[in-house]
Point group: C2
Chain length 347, copies 2
Amino acid sequence: MAFDIMENQRTEISSLGEFGLIDHLTKNNETRNVSTVLSVGDDAAVIDHFGRQTVITTDLLVEGIHFDLMYTPLKHLGYKSVVVNISDIYAMNATPTQIVVSIAISSRFSVEALNEFYEGIYAACEKYGIDLVGGDTTSSNKGFVISITAMGEVVPNNYVKRSGAQKNDLVCVSGELGGAFLGLTILEREKKIFEQTGAQPDLEGQAYIVGRLLKPEARKDIIEFFAEQEILPTSMMDISDGLSSEMLHICKQSNVGCLLYEDKLPVNEEAKQFAYKLEFDPTACALSGGEDYELLFTISQPDYEKIGQNSAITIIGYITEPGEGKNIITRGGSKYELVAQGWNHIK
Amino acid sequence: MAFDIMENQRTEISSLGEFGLIDHLTKNNETRNVSTVLSVGDDAAVIDHFGRQTVITTDLLVEGIHFDLMYTPLKHLGYKSVVVNISDIYAMNATPTQIVVSIAISSRFSVEALNEFYEGIYAACEKYGIDLVGGDTTSSNKGFVISITAMGEVVPNNYVKRSGAQKNDLVCVSGELGGAFLGLTILEREKKIFEQTGAQPDLEGQAYIVGRLLKPEARKDIIEFFAEQEILPTSMMDISDGLSSEMLHICKQSNVGCLLYEDKLPVNEEAKQFAYKLEFDPTACALSGGEDYELLFTISQPDYEKIGQNSAITIIGYITEPGEGKNIITRGGSKYELVAQGWNHIK
């Protein structure tokens, strides 16, 4: 946890110049995919997906809106910026292969600080087997802006949209929900205490939820499991805004309803205990807390047994007729309408 | 020319919400390419270049660094943001097919202002036959940030890198140089006068240079001419930083020298007259002024006659052995070393 950017050495970015900076940041860049025909160093990169379809997605992250450098180490920020992006590629049932990374930075950042950020970028590239093939590096008057576009490949017409869910399909999620929101809550709380009293943060026993926020992973394993088991979900998306919001997107785009069960929602035990301590409802955290980067998907009933083999997947409900609405059955047996409330509502 | 953003009606962006805003901005979005298998509205877009290679490039534009909204109409800004990007695709000898557009905006911008910006984006998409297939829309605390990633397609291994120039190849440029720099100069001058005295800008007779800065075009026609004539340049890049800087990139990446001729540099007559008025050297404007978005390329000598058929192409010199250096012969017959000086040096 870095409450400020530690720097033993400070090299001004201006000392390298734009092209020097790009050379410096890409000098150890490795290529892992045969599809990367031409990488960094020209007007554009060249990709050959050899008969596969190309999938493309992009995200823009702005300091003060999407991340707070007071409690986000730059290496984690680099790693997470990549993960957030390729999570969208996996959500199409595709395999990420290349990224381009653009940043705008003020003179507040040193070369050493950028090195840390790019260490995170390269660590994610290595972990997920993707190539950094281009980008843009520019100055900003204030703040740090990160734009990443990720490309991937998919067997022709094997991609999974949000709009294919059908009545009686099972609704599934990977992993556990609500942790990232609780991690954000504790970091924001400790930041306030630090600002008011100068006290160092107390994150004792909160490694899980803090890690969920600062170093999320994308569900490569789930896509690989689908391929091995020959499962083609009927719809899928990744959970960035919260389960409720994403479920409503799938229902809207598929023109169906859904019924979820509160007691099926996968919430980590540590997260649950922390939620109780804050007097938050763990179910609300799972439904409306965002940034978990788990996959939400629907499968047709014949795939039920295959799905059961994977302990990282939980069936949380099923798809209904559009007229039946989008609902959740609580532990007490009451039925409530799903609403996309966003994070602020929980607090 | 808009010295401020004129708004008869003001709709707050917050009144639409994030998803409402995206729907609003993409509701008339057309698809022009069969390669666009899936467009806006899912986690990612899907592209099928049907056996062609995919080319990808990205640019990040920051208010106050790359553009000044005091004299840049938002529609022009949207158009130029696309052109700047696809110019890099053409510079690979490829055809642009899709873009993704991300923006970060503060609450200073209304829905009407964004409409103008997107009108420019869509106008460029129509003109160049490309599809807007995705993006990200987020808030910023201050300023306007635009990130565009463009994709294109090229016949396998027909792309042109910066590194293929060989001894005796002819050095060519499209169009005319230095105009955008002079346009920027007059706009910056009139902005200062406006700030100091409130006087309205005097751009009488300066439509050409102002247009070169605010509404540049990418050289689609040159790439089409290459295809018709079966010309494959040995190296190519687009001129964004200035002819000298780009020529030095080609020489470095091709490991060659070059000899250019001052009297061959194509400079528009109106631009020349304006340069004299400011006591600028038109040659310096052509060599070091950026943002012309013309193509700089080399061809082998057997293509000399074919090139002669296109009046938009000028031969400005030739490639030499690396030991001979990178030089320019002036009108007076003196030889000077080419240096990448950037815009500030001219003033």
